[in-house]
């Protein structure tokens, strides 16, 4: 027994070290963003919000933020708008070629993002369309659709078909059945799917770098551009804002979901 306890404490220590390793660089970004010194590196020489103030006066960064938020929201709405009906089809109906089509819709996960970026850009170029916000949007929908589909499907499997059949046999039409029965039961998964689509879209850089232009930048693309002239305290400050935003959104959503569940 004693041996097991020491084994377990080693496992605990190892886990702790792995997570310290994982979070130290991120904490360093946050700490350094408050360093008033010019070069964005250690040692800390005081504490100031000056880089955040400077960020808030930088109109290209504010534009990038606005772009990212609009893009992420549109992506979330479109990806769930496409993904939820598809998930219904796969779980509620039998038809030819189901397996194949399901794999096809999930395929974008398995295509390397760099290839996805090249492929869509090449296609748009062949159509002689300029790079635009629409290109970013359709690209992000393709990137996020498989995740929405997987999340909604996983939840839909657990919702008994009998509820829907009961509503139908009591005279509800299919749309009413969806609105009154399926949707409320499915809402947590739809919400999770939207959230996931939003965060993927908000974070993505690998494929987005192919599609973005100077006028249509997202925050990660902007950060990539700023990195060209080495790391600066401004990048650390922007990173801190991103971290706070992308961590607090799911936390807040989770909190809301829990309150909502309790309220019922």
């Amino acid at each position: 027994m004693k041996k097991f306890i020491s084994g377990w404490s080693l496992i605990r220590l190892f886990t702790l070290l792995v997570y310290i390793w994982m979070f130290t660089p991120i904490i360093a970004v946050v700490i350094l963003s408050f360093n008033p010194q010019q070069f964005g590196s250690f040692p800390m020489e005081g504490f100031s919000f000056k880089w955040f103030v400077k960020l808030s006066h930088n109109s290209t960064i504010l534009d990038a933020f606005k772009n990212s938020l609009v893009l992420g929201s549109c992506t979330a709405v479109l990806a769930t708008g496409f993904g939820v009906p598809a998930a219904m089809a796969f779980i509620r109906y039998e038809f030819r070629g189901k397996e194949f089509l399901n794999t096809l819709l999930i395929a974008p996960i398995m295509v390397p993002e760099v290839v996805l970026g090249v492929a869509l850009l090449l296609f748009i170029r062949w159509l002689q369309q300029p790079k635009s916000f629409a290109l970013l949007l359709i690209g992000h929908v393709v990137l996020t659709l498989p995740y929405v589909l997987l999340i909604v499907q996983a939840r839909l499997v657990g919702i008994k078909k009998e509820y829907e059949e009961a509503a139908l046999s009591l005279g509800a039409n299919p749309f009413q059945t969806f609105r009154e029965i399926t949707f409320p039961l499915l809402a947590p998964a739809i919400f999770a799917g939207m959230l996931f689509a939003f965060t993927i879209s908000f974070d993505d850089v690998t494929a987005t770098l192919f599609w973005a232009t100077a006028q249509n930048q997202t925050v990660p693309v902007k950060i990539f551009g700023m990195l060209r002239n080495s790391i600066s305290p401004e990048i650390n400050a922007l990173g801190t804002v991103m971290i706070i935003l992308t961590v607090s959104i799911p936390l807040f959503a989770g909190y809301l979901a829990r309150r909502f569940a309790k309220g019922k």
Binding site: P85, L104, P112, V115, I138, A189
Partner: protein
């Protein structure tokens, strides 16, 4: 019962159209373009020839980048496995009342932007980064150590990006194991270690192999860590594609490299699917919410 066979198709129509026109067709274009010629003026000329592929394999330059991509991907998989299994096992086994909080920590890295996680290593490994700062301060060294812009730094970045995927995959697989199985093994006289080795470890293999495949595929398709943390010698195959397409606008050659990368990954995924089944990855991904 009236015929409802059109219904699933109506529900599927939007997604199928999107994936067909935004994924299938564009990838066909990549394949077609990979046979085209590039005029010295930079214009693309429709053709059917294997020059772009020949160019890739004509000397050792490009294949060596392909090989080093595979080597880095392999190293990353092994390191993710070593540094991922034990924490996953910890999260599975722990009886702490802080478990919901611990699970939050597992998910946290997924919510932090990839580019920030990558560039954050500059603050640690750079000439005036944390490590050099501390070593200089305590007079261990007299001039900063060069830790950035080498393969080690690239692997650090990749590891930080991919370790959460590995931990989550293994955790989901461990979490699905019936705990009474290890209890049974122990009541039959197994030690804790034997029970782990004979029962838990084999049953967690689907998660392990799904994690390995995911890490491998994601490593092969990314160019950011080598670009930000690597030096000129640490380029990977995705960097070549990025440079050809965005840098020199050489679409036909960029397409050919993309096709080579896709074929390589398809062979790997196919082999994996043959032996392990692809379902496990999707199972974990749908758990990520």
């Amino acid at each position: 019962m009236k015929d409802k066979s059109w219904k699933p198709w109506a529900l599927l129509a939007p997604s199928l159209t999107a994936v067909f026109f935004l994924l299938v067709v564009p990838i066909c274009f990549v394949i077609v373009y990979s046979f085209w010629l590039r005029a010295p003026s930079g214009a693309d000329i429709p053709a059917f020839q294997f020059g772009n592929y020949a160019k890739f394999f004509e000397d050792f330059f490009y294949p060596s980048i392909l090989l080093s991509t595979l080597r880095v991907a392999f190293e990353t998989v092994i390191l993710c496995l070593i540094f991922g299994y034990i924490p996953a096992y910890f999260f599975y086994k722990t009886t702490s009342r802080f478990k919901p909080f611990l699970m939050l920590i597992v998910m946290l890295p997924f919510w932090i932007s990839f580019i920030i996680r990558t560039l954050s290593w500059i603050n640690i490994l750079g000439d005036s980064g944390l490590i050099n700062h501390l070593l200089l301060k305590f007079h261990v060294i007299s001039s900063p150590l060069a830790m950035l812009y080498n393969e080690g730094a690239v692997i650090m970045g990749l590891l930080q990006y991919l370790l959460p995927f590995m931990i989550l995959n293994i955790y989901v697989s461990l979490d699905g194991i019936d705990k009474s199985l290890t209890e049974a093994a122990k009541s039959l006289g197994c030690t804790e270690w034997q029970a782990f080795k004979e029962v838990t470890l084999p049953l967690s293999m689907p998660g392990v192999s799904a994690g390995c495949l995911l890490v491998f595929v994601l490593t092969c398709g990314t160019y950011l860590p080598p670009m930000i943390l690597g030096g000129p010698g640490n380029e990977m195959i995705a960097n070549l594609i990025f440079k050809r397409v965005i840098g020199t606008l050489d679409w036909p050659f960029g397409s050919a490299i993309s096709v080579i990368l896709m074929v390589l990954l398809m062979v790997i995924v196919y082999t994996y699917n043959r032996y392990m089944g692809i379902g496990q990855i999707f199972k974990t991904l749908s758990n990520e919410s």
